[in-house]
Symmetry: C2
Subunit: 424 residues, 2 copies
């Protein structure tokens, strides 16, 4: 028998980047890193180092140098060397340093990167330091500079005024030790798993919310359509985002528990579904970010990408409207340079069909039969202990959410009690 | 003898767009336009209609529809149909209408466009109306939303909340009747002129300021370099921008008079120079706008483009710094999608050499011998009647500026007197 030859989509740039040092190099690298000027990363920086190290951003080989940053913010793409075409790259993957860091590095060609607790993580080689114009970065990435953008508040406002780019070499695989590391498959591990299962099509579903039966309907319907198109073994990559999210999103551990219930309850078929964590932090940058979400999944082997209404969107932080036109995400995705090879599958709208008593694709002709259950409404149900309509979500998954919101209410009540003025 | 075959660079999309109706169609078109719902253009809209009509934005055939607008603001480029590659397009060329306009148009496929005084100018066909998200447009175009951007104040803040795109058909060539229309050569007229002169290279110099001898040195040096490269007949396109500029820029009529003196005085060679007006309005959008400036000149036949420090830049409207990193313009230009075919010539810095008593290329090794004469300093010289150093600008050109600033001071004094409280 011949060796298995992958039929998966080619990664951007032709080869998957892997920036994790081979085990036999690690001791020497660590010794080298000990002697270098050191830059301290925050939690979000570490998430990006993880993303880079495993090749989600292939062909990018480290935090962006200025020529990459400029192409990213102006063109959402990177030109490959020697006329090799272009690849998509819509979010700046950059590392900010402050004046003191910059002065300390001086003209060092290489620097060591340490984690939030000071532990050595990586070496950044042949570094280039250039100005961090935060205003321009924010305006070109989000299309607004309004205060209150979650990623900006978390990772940009207090960041330094310089960016440092270079080639990354990570000392060892990045782990979080949160009980979820086994879900964090690298693009190469995902590709190996798809090949092992004999996938001839891989369709990715990016999410940062619990899976309800409308999502499941869509994913199962997508599989059916792919089979109709002639694919023999389409595999679903259910791919929750695992990095930074805003405070009112459901936390990753709760989501992972909810997703596993959805598979246990048979709403999705474990035989044809892989659940894994996408380690990227979330920008909430709408049409700009959805390109990153799609591009990274190409690198993980997905050639079909499901895109919904207002992907990576949120409410405008200071105005009573969506930050992005809800249709722009899928339109921009379908036009994006470097994503021509990806098949974009627009999300069909599912809602609760009050006649059939289940989630179904919305039919405008009988719109009064359908109930739209927003995230806010779902949260209200869970908080008040009220059950959503039968068939909205599998019972096991729903219980996870109810327990989470209950614990949140208990915490909030305790915090409120602690903050209240003492009675005399 | 065989017919002249142009060796000029191909226009974007392969053919130069011409949206001016042929003379024999004009009467019928006017009759048609009379019966259509009408949209009133402002002065800047007319400049864009002019730009579109003559094909400066080829292959764009009218004000942008949403799919063009989205590609422009996200990718600075447009995808050609049928896999025909991409062309550069960095500035949104859009037409804003207000709610009342939108209600009046309803579902009309075609609308008439009238000038500021109500005269019919054009028909816009198969129109598409979509939301005008001003904040996002401004953020993605300028990389800031700070108040005080000249184009935003002039043409966006008070504009309507909808954009209307469609195919433009202009009733007759757009004229300004300001005594300068003979300078307004269309891209086709420029191409014809270059061919007539047997140009085998065309190098464009975009400007919105008076020409001093440093500019002239650069242009003459560029010609010398092109001859050295083996070109036999390089022609300079001296191409001042003629549309909207900010209040403290030197007005177009003064600049044109100054430029003509520079040629009269022999600082530039009239045999190998064409002076013409570029009808575009100015955005002051730095690296985003310089792409437009270059792309439009490709359409006019230029295959070499001279780019300076901080092209299309200005001071930040609310902070004490340049709005753009002065190096980003030429870097972004050299990376821009669709501009690969253009030869970018970086501007060498010229300054006044106090030893040689003339403008010369700056030599860092003897920096103390050089005097940098900024626009502000030049203005101060002209205002105070002080002469700049010999050799800074040809005397004829300098006199034009002195006269202009004198007239400005007289006007300002008159305005101040009129505004002063009457003495009792």
């Amino acid at each position: 028998m011949s060796a298995i030859r992958s039929s998966l989509i080619e990664p951007d740039g032709g080869a998957l980047v892997n920036l994790v040092a081979a085990p036999d190099r690690r001791a020497a690298l660590r010794a080298e890193a000990e002697a270098l000027p050191r830059v301290r990363l925050n939690a979000v920086d570490v998430e990006w180092a993880h993303v880079l190290a495993e090749g989600w951003a292939s062909p990018l080989r480290g935090f962006m140098r200025e020529h990459e940053y400029l192409q990213c913010i102006h063109f959402n793409s990177l030109r490959l060397p020697d006329g090799g075409g272009i690849v998509n790259m819509s979010l700046p993957i950059v590392l900010a340093i402050d004046d003191a860091d910059k002065d300390r590095i001086v003209a060092a060609p290489d620097v060591a990167l340490a984690g939030p607790d000071g532990e050595l993580l990586a070496i950044l080689r042949s570094v280039e330091i250039y100005p961090h114009n935060k205003e321009e970065r924010i305006a070109r990435t989000w299309g607004t500079t309004a205060p209150g953008l979650p990623y900006v508040d978390e990772a940009i406002t207090s960041a330094g005024n310089w960016l440092i780019g270079g080639d990354l070499e990570v000392l060892q695989p990045i782990k979080y030790n949160d009980g979820l590391d086994h879900y964090r498959l690298s693009p190469q591990q995902l590709r190996d798993e798809f090949d092992k299962r004999g996938a001839d099509a891989v369709f990715a579903f990016q999410l940062r919310n619990p899976v309800h039966n409308g999502h499941a309907l869509l994913m199962n319907d997508t599989r059916r359509r792919l089979l109709e198109m002639g694919f023999k073994n389409p595999i679903l990559l259910l791919h929750p985002l695992g990095g930074f999210t805003k405070a009112d999103d459901v936390p990753l551990p709760v989501r992972m528990e909810q997703h596993s219930k959805v598979l246990e309850d048979g709403v999705l078929d474990p035989e044809t579904t892989i659940v894994s964590i996408f380690p990227s932090p979330m920008h909430y940058a709408g049409p700009t970010e959805v390109q990153w979400h799609a591009k990274a999944r190409i690198n993980a082997g997905a050639n079909f990408y499901i895109v919904g209404r207002d992907p990576a969107g949120m409410g405008h932080p200071t105005e009573k409207r969506d930050l992005y036109n809800p249709d722009h995400g899928k339109k921009v995705l379908s036009m994006a340079p470097g994503l021509e090879k990806l098949n974009i599958l627009p999300f069909k709208v599912a809602a609760y069909d009050m006649v059939a008593k289940k989630m179904a694709f919305f039919e405008p002709s009988r719109s009064k039969d359908f109930l739209f259950i927003s995230g806010t409404k779902m949260r209200t149900f869970a908080k008040t202990g009220e059950n959503p309509p039968d068939g909205f979500m599998c019972p096991g998954g729903w219980k996870v959410l109810v327990d989470y919101y209950n614990s949140l209410q208990t915490e909030e009540a305790a915090a409120a009690a602690a903050a209240a003025p003492a009675t005399v």
